[in-house]
Symmetry: C2
Subunit: 338 residues, 2 copies
Amino acid sequence: MKTEKIGGQTIRFARPASIVCGAATCGKMEGEGPLADSFDLIDKDTSFGEKNWERAESAMLRAAVDIAMQKAGIGFSGLDYIFGGDLLNQCIGSAFAVKDSAVPYFGLYGACSTMAEAMTLGAMVVDGGYAKTVCALTSSHFCSSERQFRTPLPYGCPRTPTAQRTATAAGAVILSGEGNGPFITCVTSGRILDAGIKDASNMGAAMAPAALDTLCTHFVETGRAPDYYDLVVTGDLGCVGSDILVELAMKKGFDLRERHRDCGMMIFDRKKQNVCAGGSGCGCGASVLAGYILSQMEKGEINRVLFAATGAIMSTTSAMQGESILGICHALSLENGR
Amino acid sequence: MKTEKIGGQTIRFARPASIVCGAATCGKMEGEGPLADSFDLIDKDTSFGEKNWERAESAMLRAAVDIAMQKAGIGFSGLDYIFGGDLLNQCIGSAFAVKDSAVPYFGLYGACSTMAEAMTLGAMVVDGGYAKTVCALTSSHFCSSERQFRTPLPYGCPRTPTAQRTATAAGAVILSGEGNGPFITCVTSGRILDAGIKDASNMGAAMAPAALDTLCTHFVETGRAPDYYDLVVTGDLGCVGSDILVELAMKKGFDLRERHRDCGMMIFDRKKQNVCAGGSGCGCGASVLAGYILSQMEKGEINRVLFAATGAIMSTTSAMQGESILGICHALSLENGR
């Protein structure tokens, strides 16, 4: 089989990258949530021993990278490239996390779709023979995000029901041309969608149309129905965006009800944890993938996953200038066995 | 010939992407500089008809993309992927520029190295057969950068001699598996370097060690000396960073004096234009490449160029927290003829 482009947005790989291992780290609240057992490291005070939240985010991400490399039995010298990004201005969270790695670095900005973007490009460079082993990584931290995007934490601002809570979490995965899977068998790369949503407290609604676009394109271009997968998992639409996605997909002829879950709703217990519409942030999808989903795939509980991380592209400036929140979604097929 | 990795950071392409065409747009001051003739569009009041500077930046970049596509005789439907990024928080400059393109989009953050990063990834996906045609693009705008990174323009703050002026400029290039060149024959991808520089008014010093690292690695891994190239052009080190680079390279045994030029020193006339140490910004290197350098290559005035765009990774938060400014540099060999 040759690597080939199927339709306008999907690539099917001839030499699919294997996800050798992943590692997920998180803060206190995520570590008290339903997926607690799937994290490799939970920091009890969410500071990761650092003196400010930005450093804490980098330390949390670095811990995920270190654990992932340890599982893979390699150090930084065993990596050909790192693909990483995060939500902080100028992506300092990820750059500072690996600043002493001495590994060629491609900085990305895909908002909360970053993990899927990083893994897509990582899978391409592995399949293409440009690299044997790469690391895809991303993070988000509730406290660094709140003060950057919203209000300083001590203000104690209330949140609207449609708002999502940025997860304090990081994920790193090691991709390789050798390994026993799960394999990234194909990718459907997303385009920017402007649904006209301007409410920065309703990211789910802004991202749902992008998720719909990429997922429907994936199903059409691959000829697969949702039930080809054991799980169709979106990055972090939360409950508002998830409802929109499932409803709109139904109108397009794709019934997601049985297969769809959302990382933003998996990482927290919405009833007990006061997180409004659910979790969000680059680290939400990344840690749920690198922790829970990969461990379920390893056990064989699930064998085919469509991982579709969604991002909301906006800044405080664009929001205050009245611009829409742009959505994007990149999807990857993860399969036990090629 | 097979595409192969040479050493740790360099890829030599078997099916090198052709730079089908490029387009460069800029503001008033850049349009009064030494490279005025090489810009495709100069906006006389630097607003590009928009009501705020962020919109102006997106409009300037969109104009570059539109002109590049026009030269290539294609529309957005002729592009498989867009690789883009910029300096604005959450990279809104580039995302909003192409939000209605409906082309799969990979958002990047490489600070002022973004054009080289975008072209590197673009060259890989073309060589790897994942795409026939892609667009690499980036921009920067003096006014949107000043208010984000420094002080509001009406304050009229004086600048230190080591400071660089963010160029108001944008560049877009179309890469294709078909075409007559110039070709991206090989790439040397950079790693993050922390030289310990913390002075946000001296980006040149922060980036020079990264430029040194990537250029020396390129020369060693390819076995080429600087004089293999007609031009070794750095993104935007300005005069301070350029001096550091040339001096340190000499100590490493590479004499750059004859071949090196810096886009930050090419885009402005430092004597007449009051730009302190020179120009900077993603759009500086991108527009000098997409305008001046490509036109010189087209005329056959120069035939081999090593384009090494440098980025300084920092945010106002990291700077105020006392963190170093991280440097990165990605280099590409551009050659008339494979």
